[in-house]
Each structure stands twice: as structure tokens, then as C-alpha cells.
């Protein structure tokens, strides 16, 4: 009970944060709820991998992969562009804490800690990019497969 309670609060927080960010960038009203759920799933994968495998880089790659994968389905279901679900779902995965630490350490003159944090930020950014890469790759593979099956059926 003690372990599960903060998790539930965090889940609610991620959902509402996504909806709040959606309001700021003016998402279509019909997409707000689905975007919140996509973001929630992505963050859950991120959190589980981060806690149990203890690797923030792998967690970010898998979390972004989930976001990219689910937002492709969401965009097919809602008939809207993919970025509508991608952008708000990215917000809980962004390395905000580390980026802030870089700036703060530079301001107070602790350059060693700033460098360590900067390297983390760059790695996380690369992880996010490769997560998107994998999901896009899977999407194109699926499209190719569908086109191939259609062609085969037409040949018969």
C-alpha cells in the first residue's frame, strides 16, 4: 500500500500535466483525453524500466518508443496527425531536472558537476531521438507489409 500510493499520485499527475500542456499548445479538444492516455503509458514504461533495470538511458529509449508506437495507433483511430499525440507525451520524459542542474552549476561555478549533467542531458536527448527512430521504423515496416499483402491479393 505504501509503495503503490505514490505511484497512483504520479500517474494522475502525468495525465493532468499532459492535458495542461495540451491546453497551452491548443490541441484539438477531442484529442486531449487520448493524448493523456498515450503519455501515461509512455511514462509508465519509462518509470518501470527506470526503477527495475536502473538505467535512465534505456528507460528513455523504451518510453519514447512506446509513445511513438501508441501515437501512431491513436492517430489512425482519431484521424489526426501523429505529432498531436507525440508532443504532449514527450513532456514527462524531457530531462528538465538535469538541464536545470547544468545551468545552476554553471551559474554557481561548479563546472565538473555541470559537465556530468550536460552529458546526461545529451544522452537522454539521443535516447529520445532513437526511440522515435525505432517506432518510425516499425511503422514503415508495417506499411510495407500491408502494401505487399494488398499487391499479393491483387495478383491472385
Amino acid at each position: 500500500m505504501i509503495i503503490i500510493f505514490p505511484l497512483i499520485i504520479n500517474i494522475l499527475c502525468v495525465y493532468f500535466a499532459t492535458i495542461g500542456f495540451g491546453i497551452l499548445i491548443n490541441l484539438p479538444r477531442k484529442a486531449l483525453n487520448v493524448a493523456g492516455i498515450v503519455s501515461l503509458c509512455g511514462w509508465l514504461v519509462y518509470h518501470i524500466v527506470d526503477v527495475h533495470l536502473n538505467s535512465y538511458l534505456f528507460a528513455d529509449i523504451l518510453g519514447t518508443f512506446t509513445v511513438g508506437f501508441l501515437s501512431i495507433f491513436a492517430s489512425r483511430y482519431k484521424k489526426m496527425p501523429v505529432i498531436i499525440f507525440n508532443i504532449p507525451a514527450l513532456v514527462p520524459l524531457v530531462p528538465g531536472g538535469q538541464a536545470y542542474q547544468v545551468m545552476k552549476c554553471l551559474a554557481i561555478g561548479n563546472y565538473a558537476l555541470a559537465k556530468a549533467n550536460l552529458i546526461q542531458v545529451i544522452f537522454i536527448a539521443g535516447g529520445i531521438a532513437s526511440g522515435f527512430l525505432f517506432s518510425e521504423f516499425l511503422n514503415q515496416l508495417y506499411n510495407r507489409f500491408k502494401a505487399y499483402m494488398k499487391e499479393k491479393r491483387a495478383m491472385r
Partner: protein, 251 residues
């Protein structure tokens, strides 16, 4: 309508659709795809277009001159992107004509309104307070972080409305966030200045440019992808400099 007028209307419609999509934060592949689809559905097989982040060049047919449109400002309004997408889909299904498509695009600023300002403030409150809990799990500072984020968004929108300089609004908003957070700590209302600043900066994170930069580079657009990336890095640097200035001044 003769062939020449029809071709002209087609080019005007495509340029306007592309301009609206880029101005409101679409990725480049979608813009190219939409323009190609509109011209194929209108029967212009030989239409060609070249799309960049700052302008679009398009010609309707080989024996006519090309038209250019320049794009100066870029904001985030994803509902307009989605609406242009819908119109294009309706045009492909022959539900609306090309003239109706053009009239609707002209009207889009009146038809699609942003969320009201008080709701945006509540949205900024939600983003800051909840993400402060997710990132730092500091339950005590929930309200303070929300208020700091709301104030940051208020300053950001106000400077955005009255000035024309890019990245100035982010810089001023970040300075305000830093000052207010440190004052709240000095007044013993909140516990941790770091948590307040991280939460307060979250509504200003350049999420749209980051995502679009990654997607543009992955699709092979080496003109628009890196320029979007620079836009994102400049925004992030403006936020960082603002906050570190506040820390430096107040200690």
C-alpha cells in the same frame, strides 16, 4: 473557369495550406505530403513544390511561373494543423470543392480559436505543479510550483503580445520565475527553490521544436530539421540564461 485560372487557384490553395501548417508547428513531411495530395486530387499531375521552414516555392504546371510565399512567424497551434489535414482529407473524398477549400483556409483564423487565456493559466498551473511532483516528489511545494508556473506563462504571453523579438519572451519569463521562486523561499512559503524553478519552467519547454526537429532529421530533410533544432536550443538557452541570471543576482 479556364485551365489557367484553375491552376492559379490550385497553387494559391496549396501555398496557403502549407503556410498555415508550418506557421502552426507541423513537421515538414506532412506539409510536402499535403501539398502533393491536394495537387494530385485536383488533377495537376505535374505540380512541383519545394518546402522549407521559412518559405514555400510551388509551380502548378511546367508552362506557368512558380509562386513563392514567405513564412516569418512560427507559433504552436496544433488544432489548425489538424483542421487543414481534415480539409485536405475532405477534398480528397470530393466532399468540398477547391474554391470552398480556399475560402475555408482564408477563414481559419476566425474559425479556430485558441483556448481562453484563463484556461491557459490553469493549464500552466497543472503542468508546473504536477510535473514538480513527478520529477522531484516534493508534495509540500505543489501549490507554490503551480503559482510560479502560472506567473511564468502570464509573463511569457504578455511579452509575446507586445514585443516582436524572438527568445526575449522566454528570457524575461525565466528571470521572473527565478526571482519569484527565490523570494518564495526567502519568505519561507516553500522548501526548495530548485523544485519550484524546475516546475515553473516546464510550461515553457520547447516541446514542439524538439519533436519536429527529430522527425524532420529522421525523414532526411537536412534544411529544416537542423534549423528547428537550433530554434529549440536557442529557446532552451534563453530559459537557462534567465534562470542563471536570477540565481547569480540573488545568490
Amino acid at each position: 473557369m479556364n485551365e489557367r485560372q484553375k491552376s492559379k487557384l490550385l497553387v494559391e490553395t496549396c501555398l496557403l495550406a502549407g503556410k498555415i501548417m508550418i506557421e502552426n508547428g507541423s513537421e515538414m513531411v506532412r506539409v510536402t505530403d499535403t501539398i502533393d495530395r491536394i495537387s494530385i486530387n485536383a488533377g495537376a499531375k505535374e505540380a512541383r513544390s519545394y518546402v522549407t521552414l521559412t518559405g514555400i516555392i510551388m509551380s502548378g504546371s511546367p508552362d506557368m511561373g512558380a509562386q513563392v510565399t514567405a513564412i516569418d512567424k512560427r507559433t504552436f497551434d496544433l488544432e489548425k494543423v489538424s483542421t487543414v489535414n481534415d480539409y485536405s482529407r475532405q477534398f480528397a473524398n470530393k466532399k468540398i470543392s477547391l474554391g470552398e477549400f480556399y475560402r475555408r483556409l482564408k477563414r481559419i483564423d476566425k474559425d479556430i480559436l485558441p483556448f481562453p487565456f484563463w484556461l491557459q493559466l490553469i493549464g500552466a498551473f497543472m503542468v508546473s505543479s504536477t510535473l514538480e511532483i513527478v520529477f522531484r516528489s516534493n508534495y509540500y511545494d505543489f501549490w507554490a510550483a503551480g503559482i510560479v508556473g502560472m506567473l511564468g506563462w502570464f509573463v511569457y504571453s504578455l511579452t509575446d503580445k507586445y514585443t516582436n523579438i524572438r527568445f526575449l519572451n522566454e528570457f524575461i519569463a525565466a528571470i521572473c520565475i527565478g526571482f519569484v521562486s527565490i523570494f518564495l523561499i526567502r519568505a519561507k512559503i516553500a522548501i526548495s527553490a530548485d523544485d519550484l524553478i524546475i516546475g515553473g519552467l516546464m510550461p515553457l519547454v520547447p516541446g514542439v521544436p524538439i519533436t519536429n526537429a527529430v522527425r524532420d532529421v529522421l525523414s532526411g530533410n537536412l534544411v529544416s530539421g537542423p534549423s528547428r533544432g537550433i530554434e529549440a536550443i536557442m529557446s532552451a538557452c534563453a530559459l537557462g540564461f534567465g534562470v542563471s541570471m536570477a540565481i547569480k543576482i540573488l545568490g
